[in-house]
Every structure is written in structure tokens, then in C-alpha cells.
Symmetry: C2
Subunit: 225 residues, 2 copies
């Protein structure tokens, strides 16, 4: 399971023909197999659901990668999942902006505007809109202790609260604020199925079915993968 498959990220770039700028990538830094499996899976699923383009997981997190790929296959993308062993080098050599989420960092409410400005293209294109001279953004989410060099390399060390809580919670709120909620309206492509939002119900339809007819009851536990 520890193969380094480039996955959907590379497929998408190949489809589009050119490398575009303005990509938002989440890097899970460190992973303890067994103990961290669910947290790492949830980091990957949260990155996907809240609008990142790709997640990079440590190469010993193959099981989490498979789970996230499976969700992307069923519920759509584009979303890339990569397994890489060179976490330090990815951070060191990143050509865009590096944000490190840590409870010791500057307050999200104080720096979120500055972060958006740092990645925004000169033509005013917002973060997440690809192309132009927008800068790529790497969001680093710690697992095990992260090296001091990461604090120094990061353009922004950001505290989503300065309280101990959860790297998954921090990532979700960071992305929701980064995209100013626009990630909630994104459309998913190449999905097999689609949840129909409703006041009382659990309705899942074929992704190409715009009506409500052909419903399917899905696993109620799908959220707690």
C-alpha cells in the first residue's frame, strides 16, 4: 500500500495540458501507522471536502490514501492524493506560500487577509481560482512533532485558536476562512453519487440524476470513516 502513486492530481494536470498556478495543497506532516490512521484519513477527507486541490500524505499512510481515493471515486473530484516520503524537502522546496497550522502561531483572524493577499494573482483572482500569476499554497498540518525548521520556513505559522484541539478542526476552519465559504458551493465532477441536502432524510442519488426519483439509502456512518 506504500506505493508512490501520483493519483488524481497528475491525471487532472495531464487533462488540462498545462501546469496552472494557484493550487492549494495540504501536507500531512508525520504519521504513526495504527495510532494516526483515522486522523490522517480525516485530514485527507477534510482537505477534499473543504476545497483543497490535493493532499500529500507520508508514505507510511497508504491505508488512509486508499480511503480518500475511494471517496473521491464515489463522490467526485478533482482531488489528488499522493504518498511521498520527502516531507522535509517538499516544504523546503515549495515555490509558493507555506502556511503551518499550529496552536503557537499568529491568530487566524489577524492573518487570514494577509494570506489571501499573498497567494492572490495580480489580476485580483481569488485564492483557489487557477491560472495567471497566482501563487501556490501549501498548508502543513502537523501530526507527530514537527521540526523547528518548519516554523522557520513557513511564511505563516497560524493558530486556529491558540488552544489545544484537533488538527482536523484547525484545517477545516482554516480552509473555510481562506476560501471565504466559497468552497461550500463547489461542484464535483466524475462522481458516481450525490447526496441530496434535505431537512429530514438520507437521500443519495446517481450523480447524473438531477431529480429525486431513483434514491438509494447509503451507509449512515459515511461521515465517520
Amino acid at each position: 500500500m506504500n506505493e508512490t502513486r501520483e493519483g488524481d492530481g497528475e491525471t487532472r494536470e495531464a487533462d488540462e495540458g498545462t501546469r496552472e498556478t494557484g493550487e492549494v495543497v495540504v501536507l500531512r506532516y508525520g504519521h504513526r501507522p495504527g495510532r494516526d490512521d483515522r486522523m490522517t484519513t480525516h485530514v485527507g477527507l477534510t482537505a477534499r471536502a473543504f476545497g483543497a486541490d490535493r493532499v500529500i500524505l507520508p508514505d507510511n499512510a497508504g491505508q488512509s490514501a486508499e480511503t480518500v481515493r475511494g471517496v473521491t471515486d464515489r463522490f467526485g473530484g478533482p482531488f489528488g492524493v499522493e504518498l511521498r516520503e520527502d516531507q522535509k524537502a517538499i516544504v523546503r522546496n515549495w515555490e509558493g506560500v507555506v502556511v503551518h497550522l499550529t496552536m503557537y502561531g499568529e491568530r487566524i483572524q489577524d492573518v487570514e487577509g494577509e494570506i489571501r493577499a499573498a497567494v492572490r494573482a495580480d489580476d485580483g483572482r481569488a485564492v483557489g481560482d487557477r491560472g495567471g500569476d497566482a501563487r501556490d499554497l501549501l498548508v502543513v498540518v502537523g501530526g507527530e512533532k514537527v521540526p523547528w525548521a518548519l516554523y522557520e520556513r513557513a511564511d505563516f505559522n497560524v493558530g486556529v485558536t491558540n488552544q489545544p484541539h484537533s488538527e482536523v478542526a484547525g484545517l477545516a476552519v482554516f480552509l473555510d476562512r481562506l476560501f471565504e465559504g466559497e468552497e461550500l458551493d463547489r461542484e464535483w465532477v466524475d462522481a458516481d453519487r450525490r447526496v441530496v441536502p434535505e431537512a429530514t432524510g438520507k437521500t443519495v442519488v446517481d450523480a447524473d440524476d438531477r431529480g429525486r426519483g431513483d434514491t438509494e439509502r447509503d451507509d449512515g456512518d459515511a461521515e465517520s470513516t
Copy 2:
């Protein structure tokens, strides 16, 4: 560890003398010991960090309760942690508004204003401001499969995206939107220690130390409890 200690919640109410309205309480519905320990702990820590007043955990989640109480002791409150076995009854008998977070629910961006209005006091007091005739809010976060009765009892079934991701991510974004970010500025009382937000550093000071002198290096892994 499975004692039903009412904990800080009751202490706080006793301190204040009267039961106030407008409380925001998170209920973790279901818990599988071992498998769910970290997720349940993160639900509790996220509820605390993002402005809820209390978390109610299933009575088999004693270990998670101890961890959340320990963080509250060190980093401050007020925040209540309760272990209760009567999850169904808590939901059924709740006298205020019940929100159930589920990927099948209505879109958060469509209903968040309506939820704030449903709990708001007639004098316009915002959610989280206690007193007056504000209504209490119960936020139910599913673990294991939740019963259909919960979908029916909930005043709002809410999808923080209609994608599979993480109950911790959903709770964090829900609370951040519910409180419109104001939870990020809350002050903590009775804390032993306080993180000093900074661009590059890991500085923790005594909670009553407003300066930067007497610093202590804390465990860098504190966020991934």
C-alpha cells in the same frame, strides 16, 4: 473511569447561582471504546476551543472526558464535561433547539442564519450571550450510526458540506459560523498557562503573566492529543 461526574458544567452553574438560558451544548452521540477514543477526545476539545459551553459524552468515553477536563484545567474555561448514558433521552427532552450535523442535511450556508435566529433572545442578544429568553442549543455529533428518531427530532439536520469527511471538521466549522467568528476572541478564565500567539515560536506563559518574560517550552504535539 465511567463515573457520571457532572464536572465543571455544574460547578459553573452553582457559581453563578441561577440557571441561564442561551447555553450551547455539544452531544457526542455514540462511542466505540478504543476505535473512537481520539475522535471523541477531539470532538470534546473542539467543542471547548470553538466556544461551546459544555460537551456531553457517552458514559463509555471516560478516557476522553479525562483528557478534555485536563486541558480545561490547564488552559482554562469555563467548559463543562459530562458523561451520560441517556443519549436518546437527552435529545428527546431537550427544551431548546436541536441541531444534528449530518452529511445528508440542509446546507450550512443556507440555514445558519435561521439557526442563529431560532436561538436568539427577543432583545437581539446573539447566540452564546447568556440570559434573557435566549434558547439553549444542542449540537449533536454522530459517531456510530444514529437512530432515525434523531433526524426526526432535530429542528435542523445540517450538512457542513454534503460530502463525507470528519465529524470534528463539521463541528468546528459549524461553531465558527454559528458564532460568526466571535468565539476566536473569547477569554479563558482559571487557566494555568497561556500560549502567546507569534509569527515564529512556541511560547507558553503563566496565565496571569501578561508579559513575555517567564516562558516555558511546551509539548509541540499538544494539538494532536
